[in-house]
Amino acid sequence: MRYLPLTEEDRRAMLGVIGAKSVDDLFGDIPASLRLKAPLDLPKGMGEIEIERELAALAAKNMAAGSVPSFLGAGAYRHHVPAAVDYLVQRGEFLTSYTPYQPEIAQGTLQVLFEFQTQVALITDMEVANASMYDGATAAAEAVMMANRVTRRQKALLAADLHPHYRAVIETYGRFNGFATRVPRDIEALAASIDNTISCVVVQNPGFFGDVRDYAALAEACHKAGALFVVAVAEVVSLGLIKPPGAMGADIVVAEGQSLGNALEYGGPYLGLFATREKFMRQMPGRLTGQTVDADGLRGFVLTLSAREQHIRREKATSNICTNSGLCALAFSIHLALLGELGFTRLAELNHAKAVQLAERLEKLPGIGLMTPSFFNEFTLRLPRPAAPIVDTLAARGILAGVPVSRLLPERTNDLLVTATELTTDADMEALEAALRGALT
């Protein structure tokens, strides 16, 4: 078998050194009754030829969002990842290395993470960031738990237009970790609910329905009540164009980093970003990379403030997280490095301009209402009829028309979330406009 280097001769020689008769004898500590007598009922081993054939056949049963006009968003975004990213990420020294516990021989990973932490702090306009979390939703849950630790309060207010998955994850953690959550009906109700029993307010900008808002006033209301203001960002490219959460008074920013460097991949692996103020640094969950010197006085990087983490603090850890999303963070970092200031801002401009063009086309369609007056690259349309069947019909005709909001919020049957990115062409927009017009007549 191509991955197993030992030959029968090797095994015999090694058993001789060990003093055992057979490999099976090495499992003697396991009671015989527990040991399988025959191979499990599973397909036999295959070579690359057959595996590629089988998996390619499965892949062919899917409609790749990259191969048809595609307008899906709602927390995962189709962007162009430059060719160099994937080649660099697959260098064996990156792909097959581990958590940098031996920093002397992991300076590659550690410097990448230090640069990544810097990039995240810069784009969110915050002071410090960690070396990644699983995704935006779990990062949001960790942010609430951190706010609970900092304020010693156990109740969080969640905005009504927080991504339903983010809300669901926070609520799950709340149920088992022992904190309460409330979702006031709208922003006004949210502001009115802020008092000195709440640990934090969590909003999303741009919101789940696409709205872009200035939350500075809400942040101030939080601070007056001694609560933390948490902002979630699901589309990280938006930070290239709109006022960042740090400038709005955020205490913690969490984000989904998938848009940069990482393919859609049917929902994972994705990349949680987590940034905060320096005064809260020691309360941050997850790994942190810090700068230091070695025995010769040369600058180097190490994992630091580890005493907060599970392998030292155990049951008192800031989080149970161990493995995070290192390779996705690397991809993010390379992509953002390639873009730089110029490229990142231009990418964001391009996304917004395409979305405006698309909105201008679609809002003119009879019976359709645009629900989002200000947006980045995603907006909500209210259709005169349920959106999900229309989306299904269009999918059968090779157009992925957007996400019916009812998929995540069952009561919003007629709403459709539509996204445009730099990959959206005029032909794509033409096709969607024509298809929707046809579907609604």
């Binding site: 020691r282 580890s306 005493a307 907060r308 030292i312 603090r313 008192k316």
Partner: protein, 127 residues
Amino acid sequence: MSNIRYTKDHEWIRVDGNEATIGITDFAQGQLGDIVFVELPEIGRKVEKGKEAGVVESVKAASEVYAPASGEVTAVNTGLADDPAQVNSDAMGEGWFYKIKLADAKELGDLMDEAAYKAFTAEQDKH
């Protein structure tokens, strides 16, 4: 120094009338290694005997610091924020953590004196 008492968790408490100064012992700092951070209670906080009052961190460990007696925190050693190494170099003096106004001096009754603590740590050392 007959007015110092010690806990099984290696905190010391030095009483001066109704006030007491609290820290961790030299033995404890040796066990922890180079101290990198000390989390101290806020002034005004009421600490309870036997309950957590702070945290002391080294690179390889983080330990709760428990209050040897109950009382209200009247002062904290703010110098430790810039120079936590003082806990290593002078745990019993410059490396003090916080001071309290004692709620009940009788709570000190079950703490060890210097001789008892010396014997206690001698036992601990032979692991």
